[in-house]
């Protein structure tokens, strides 16, 4: 026998508050308010109930109601005052929600109200800087660029360090997606309601197999039953500029330098122009972002439909991202309230026009004394390095010479279209014979279709002149399927507490496919016999899981989880992994002696332990199987009078198994002064063993020198602090601050090679690596020669003595070789700080978010690869630009050890003002809000060239030619009607 409850939540000015969580206390029933503050909750068991109305930043309201079977109970308008203790907010956890005060693990939620404002093109950027322990960094400034997300540092060396991302119950495939640099950017950030980050194992273990690096649960906005239909339209217009450039010489400086140090021959190659090649390829770029959403209830069916259109130009010329998104969600309650249905479809269609990765590097190094265009140039009028035979007119490019960066941008059309659909239907059925038992079935899919083309015309494009242009295409399909089923039994045992049991099954299947593609010229003829071989690869995960929650008197909380995961990547005997977790919490505030304290509004201790597994290895779905791979057409060998394609057996480890991370977490949640100051403290230790790691095979014992196996271990230990404080709280003026800090230390505790494994390739020469993974040191510690100085300037190594004059001979053997390398600093920040501020004065809101990394060091590969004589005076007949650093150091680029000098390991700590926004409500009746925002407003750092932010990706900490992160100015308008 159930009824429904409906009402409206308003703020002190009687304006409707959207997004407020309203739940029936002691149940998982609840809903959130729609855009005008109204809400409705169905299927509430009849009888006296308490409504808990909560919203981040507001005091929670508790309203007693009496629910009558078969009727709607209208609750009078509820006013929420700003600043709350947050405690009763419903928090989404794996396979369900709990009240915040009942959470036993380390869980942080961020709702739409607190998202980063301004032009946000990809969902993960909404919470950048907002959550302790979470690092988010874009790979560059292109619209939709990939982000690296790390929760509490990486737990793996060779396997994935990416967290699991679950959108509305569908774990999504965030692996490489052809034709898109960031699979997440296919989700429209405007559709997202909350992010919940599960950090410790007791919280993540229910996702077992894919949870070693934390879990991010994303909930999208939903319609509410009984809500009247409303429309929200918003639009943003942005201007992006390029704040930080790579420092290089200008034309005059370069001419002066060459005239000083160059040979006559080299001087003769100087031009008379003054070209800033970065200026030439960069531009001010505009972005338009339109969103429209209809939310409400059609009859009894709550519905939300949204459309989005984004058209974002990159600040490198020609770069563009267009994204169209459609999201439809219905969540009706059927069968007299016994069956809850939640169905979502999110579709997106993006069109990319990419620029080459190396284009910034090519602009940085192009001779600044050369003009952009050249009269009579056969290359579309662009200035290029070529010679023309005076009699035949035949054109020959100068070997190894760079090609004009602007020509490369204008002549290359590198386009892709990617379509993605994520959908699921979740059926939650309350069994009529046993109302405490619910059955939940979730069927989901995540499909993508990518198509791309690369076209460079023949004849007039110097970049692909020799091969006759490019006319290539590619495509990829990914089909991922999900089936989840669980039973949830929840029983109030009266004085004995409350018990909840969950048992479930999960089936996930991932299929990736791309057809063979030839290597073609612009005219469609083969440029080489090469055909990129087709790919079809599949892996499957099957899991069983169970969870027990026990709540005694709302003060003593206990959670235990066990999950059994089975991965197709491992052989039969090794594919099962068992991942247990347990956590306890003591909500001290609930004890009688604190019940009446208004000074101490919350106090809770938490402790958790758990093991999670990892099987996400890159590029190989079959590491336990012996099989033979075909070679491409360009690596044939003649046997029997004809060239034949080769077949190669792959290295494998039949007994490869799960990598396991054990996490210990202890935490404290506190609140003071009626919740004006609230926060959390967490300490953790994460130990990963049996690392899925590519390691040296004993020579001759396997089919390559390295193979993937379980070897080595590492640990992360850290401290996280989160603090929310209300500075001012008056009728007209409210100001809250949100600060977080993360201190993570990472250390390798076991690798097979005592010297360590060299990692992180760098530019300049081939095969050089700047970092090493050694026992007792942080992951990716730099491995360098110790530079000697004279008069505060680094001594230039000379090769006559192998660099002995410039570097410390650590073992005093009279020569400089790799035995003189030392471990020095690392790219890992010692501290990550985030600070958010939100102030409202009457109808105006001013907010900012800033982020700082402290104690992280970068390898300045720009300086090392360009700031030396050999780099700008190559033996070939052209010049390359150099850095102002050269004028100070005078490095020659000679000496074996130059590139590995610790001189290039530089402090890359920074403070970035990520976002400042100002909003203004035009009036209570008009429902129009206007905003202005600046993103990447400024950065404070000692690092003196380019952008210092790079903590992961291919070569962690190696700063090279990154697509500049733009500074973006945004104007927006948001209308509800």
């Amino acid at each position: 026998q159930t009824g429904s409850v409906s009402g409206r939540v308003v703020d002190e000015k009687s304006a409707g508050l959207p997004g407020v969580t309203v739940i029936i206390e002691g149940t998982t029933l609840g809903n959130s308010t729609n855009s005008d503050g109204t809400y409705s909750i169905q299927n509430v068991p009849a009888g006296p109930r308490t409504l808990v109305i909560s919203f981040v930043g507001y005091t929670t309201g508790r309203i007693p109601v009496t629910v009558t079977a078969g009727q709607n109970t209208a609750v009078p308008s509820t006013t929420l005052n700003e600043n709350t203790t947050l405690l009763n907010e419903a928090v989404v956890v794996g396979y369900g929600t709990v009240r915040k005060q009942d959470v036993t693990g380390s869980v942080t939620s961020v709702s739409s109200r607190d998202f980063v404002k301004g032009q946000v093109n990809s969902p993960e950027q909404l919470i950048n800087g907002k959550v302790a322990g979470v690092q988010i960094s874009t790979s560059g400034g292109a619209p939709g660029a990939a982000s690296v997300i790390r929760i509490r540092g990486g737990s793996s060396l060779n396997a994935s360090n990416d967290p699991l991302i679950v959108i509305d119950g569908v774990p999504i495939d965030n692996s490489e997606l052809r034709g898109s640099s960031n699979a997440l950017s296919l989700i429209n950030p405007n559709d997202i309601e909350t992010f919940t980050v599960l950090k410790d194992a007791s919280a993540t273990a229910i996702y077992g197999s894919r949870a070693s690096n934390g879990v991010i649960l994303i909930t999208t906005k939903k319609g509410i039953s009984g809500e009247k239909v409303g429309v929200n339209v918003s639009s943003l217009f942005s201007l992006s500029t390029s704040p930080r450039r790579v420092e290089v010489l200008n034309g005059d400086e370069f001419r002066a330098l060459i005239n000083r140090v160059g040979t006559e021959d080299q001087k003769s190659r100087l031009g008379s122009a003054n070209t800033d090649w970065q200026d030439v390829i960069l531009r001010d770029a505009y972005t338009q972002d339109y969103n429209a959403a209809v939310t409400g209830s059609l009859g009894t069916v709550p519905l939300r439909v949204s459309l989005g259109h984004l058209n974002a130009d990159g600040i490198i010329k020609t770069n563009n991202l267009k994204r169209n998104t459609l999201s439809v969600g219905v969540n009706p309650v059927l069968l007299g309230g016994n069956l809850k249905v939640d169905a979502n479809v999110k579709g997106s269609w993006i069109d990319n026009r990419f620029v080459e990765d190396g284009i910034i590097g090519s602009a940085v190094s192009f001779d600044p004394t050369q003009p952009v265009t050249l009269n009579g140039s056969p290359f579309g009028g662009f200035n290029e390095y070529y010679t023309q035979d005076p009699t035949t007119g035949a054109i020959t490019l100068v070997g190894l010479a760079p090609t004009n960066p602007l020509a490369r941008l204008s002549q290359r059309r590198d386009r892709s279209t990617v379509k993605r659909a994520i959908g699921n239907i979740q059926l939650d059925y309350k069994l009529f014979f046993l109302p405490d038992l619910r059955a939940n079935l979730n069927l989901g899919y995540d499909l993508t279709r990518s198509n791309g083309t690369t076209f460079v015309p023949a004849g007039i494009a110097a970049s692909e002149f020799n091969r006759g242009g490019v006319g290539n295409f590619y495509s990829q399909e990914r089909d991922n399927k999900l089936l989840e089923f669980y039973l949830n039994y929840s029983k109030d045992l009266g004085n004995a507490g409350r018990l909840e049991l969950l048992g479930g099954y999960s089936y996930q299947d991932f299929l990736r496919e791309s057809p063979a593609v030839p290597d073609l010229r612009a005219d469609g003829t083969p440029a080489s016999p090469n055909i990129v071989l087709p790919v079809r690869s599949q892996n499957t995960l099957i899991s069983f899981y169970g969870r027990l929650n026990y709540n005694f008197k709302d003060r003593y909380l206990f959670t235990a989880t066990l999950r059994n995961d089975n991965s197709s990547r491992f052989a039969k005997d090794f594919r099962a992994g068992y991942f247990p977790a347990a956590a306890v919490a003591w909500r001290v505030k609930g004890e009688n002696f604190l019940a009446n304290s208004t000074f101490l509004s919350e106090l809770k201790f938490r402790a958790g332990y758990g093991i999670t597994g990892q099987q996400e290895v890159f590029g190989n779905d079959y590491p336990s199987l012996a099989f033979y791979n075909p070679g491409e057409n360009t690596v044939q060998y003649p046997v029997g009078g004809v060239f034949v394609n080769t077949l190669r057996p792959v290295a494998y480890d039949r007994s490869i198994k799960w990598e396991e991370t054990t996490t210990y977490n202890a935490g404290l949640d506190y609140g003071f002064v009626d919740g004006r100051l609230t926060g959390t403290v967490d300490v953790y230790l994460r130990k990963t063993k049996d690392l899925l790691n590519e390691t040296d095979a004993s020579a001759g014992t396997n089919l390559s020198n390295r193979f993937l196996t379980n070897v080595g271990s590492l640990e992360n230990r850290g401290l996280e602090l989160g603090l929310i404080g209300v500075v001012a709280q008056t009728t007209d003026f409210n100001w809250s601050l949100n600060a977080n800090a993360t201190f993570n230390r990472n250390k390798i505790t076991d690798v097979p090679n005592p010297t360590g494994l060299r990692v992180s390739g760098i530019d300049g020469g081939t095969g050089n690596r700047i970092s090493i993974n050694t026992v007792g040191f942080p992951v990716n510690t730099y491995y360098v020669y110790q530079q000697k100085y004279a008069n505060d300037k680094p001594i230039v190594p000379t090769n006559a003595n192998g660099g002995l004059n410039a570097f410390v001979d650590q073992n005093n053997d009279g020569q400089i070789n790799e035995q003189d390398l030392v471990r020095y600093k690392s790219p890992n920040p010692k501290a990550i700080l985030g600070l958010g501020s939100n102030a409202t004065f009457k109808r105006a809101t001013l907010a900012f978010t800033m982020r700082a990394y402290l104690g992280n060091y970068a390898y300045n590969n720009i300086e090392s690869s360009r700031g030396n004589l050999n780099a700008f005076l190559p033996t070939n007949p052209f010049l390359r630009n150099t850095t102002p650093g050269y004028l100070e150091t005078g490095f020659t680029g000679e000496g074996t050890s130059y590139l590995l000098s610790d001189y290039f390991i530089q402090d890359a700590s920074f403070l970035r003002m990520d976002n400042i926004s100002l909003g203004y409500d035009l009036g209570e009746t008009s429902n129009i809000r206007v905003t202005a925002a600046v993103q990447n407003a400024f950065i404070v750092t000692k690092f003196d060239t380019a952008d210092p932010e790079k903590f992961d990706g291919g070569s962690p900490g190696v700063i090279n030619n990154v697509y500049p992160r733009p500074r973006t100015f945004t104007l927006g308008v948001n209308v509800n009607f």
Partner: protein, 518 residues
Amino acid sequence: CMKDLDREPFYGLDTETVYANPAAQRQVLAKIYGGLVITGQKTTGDADTKGDDEGATSYSRLLFKLQELTTDEAAIAWTDGAIQNLNDNTWTSNNNYVLGMYNRIYFQIALANEFIREMSDDKLSGRGITGNDLTNAKLYRNEARFLRALGYYHALDMFGNVPFVTEADAPGKFQPRQISRADLFAYVESELKAIEPDLLPRAQAEYGRASQAAAQTLLAHLYLNAQVYTGTARNADVITYCNKVIGSGYSLAGRYSDLFGADNDRVANSEIIFPIVCDGLRTRSYGGTTFLVHASSGGSLQPATLGVNSGWGGLRARKNLPLAFGLTTAAQAAAPADKRAMFFTTRQNLEMASLTTFREGWAVTKWTNKTSTGADGSDATKEFVDTDIPLFRLADVYLMYAEAVLRGGGGSQATALSYVNQLRRRGYGFPITTANPTSDVASIDLDFILAERMRELYWEAHRRTDLIRFGKYTGTAYTWPFKGGPQAGGDVASFRTLFPIPVADLTANPTLRQNPGY
């Protein structure tokens, strides 16, 4: 649906499927052959051995670096990794090129072992391979044994005492035992002798295949260095096997330069006993001659002169090489009497003041992507080179014969002198059958042989082995610029006649003992 966990590759082939199919058997054999130059299943991007820049992991490129850069013939200007420690003989057990060579050798050995194991008589019959397919399969298996013996030969020459695995050891995680250099010598000898009669005779072996003569030439090399490898000279055996090779119908190519051009597989195949095949379209890697030709070009030596699109500014000669031809000036180098001296001297200094500057030391134009008629190779982009590497060729066998005679192995002094003079007449551009006082020598001794091997075989990856055999690789009696470090040339300790077992393998296999001195 737990069955869904038994996922298998869609395009890769399992072991059974491969070895039941004669065409696939041949494809695996092609991989073992190709392993001498190719670096992976793509030109780049799917490397066989990991840890270094892929192009630098080519067997032939590493063989060149270890055999030439550590000697009086060549130096490289690059500063990648620990490459300069090869130039000045200061490598350690962490040297990435030493490790790279070691890895490549054992990749070949592991691959050959897998093939030989799966191609045993029992397994072939079990898979229903019969008739002509069976004949071919057995031949393939013997060729794999030759290629494995070649790998082990390089292992015993460069590393001495090394881990030993055969087809009896299936892939997995284990620690193989270390075999002594002398025992490995005996194993390689027994393998080559066992397969020699079963390989194709020269007349039936198409160019590129390991024929009986290839095995015989490798045996001759093994015996020629037996004193170094085992402490016991085997010069009579050198004579025996050189005679077998010479008797199988090879003849010197017409022009010396034909051996090192883009069409050497056509115009010089009468001399080439066992090539490493490179092809600008179909056998592409950044090893082989693609490396040799690009790296030879730089400074004022335009890459187009050598038929390639770019100069990598790396390889030059140390002065000992031009001096062996009696050349000291650019004018002499422009028109040498002995046309085997192929140097480019414009803005190149004979004396080497720096190892890392391309202009220090004369450039060498011996390896080229131009054909005998001056045309470019087959790759229109001029990135990948067609020229094959004549790993074994008749001239080398002639010189081995002559050396073995002088070392008391028997044979004929007159024949030895005649072989040497044939090579010299060709070098000078004279008819090889007619005596010529300008080119001919009247008598030969061992010092002359070492110098003649330099003139005939420079930059063909023989030099380190030759200098060690003649006792001139270490010590101060014979030096070259930057030998052991000093610009004038200094000492190299005697333990450096062997490279160290790489640290990576000492770690992976703690049962191994390091070579003395490291």
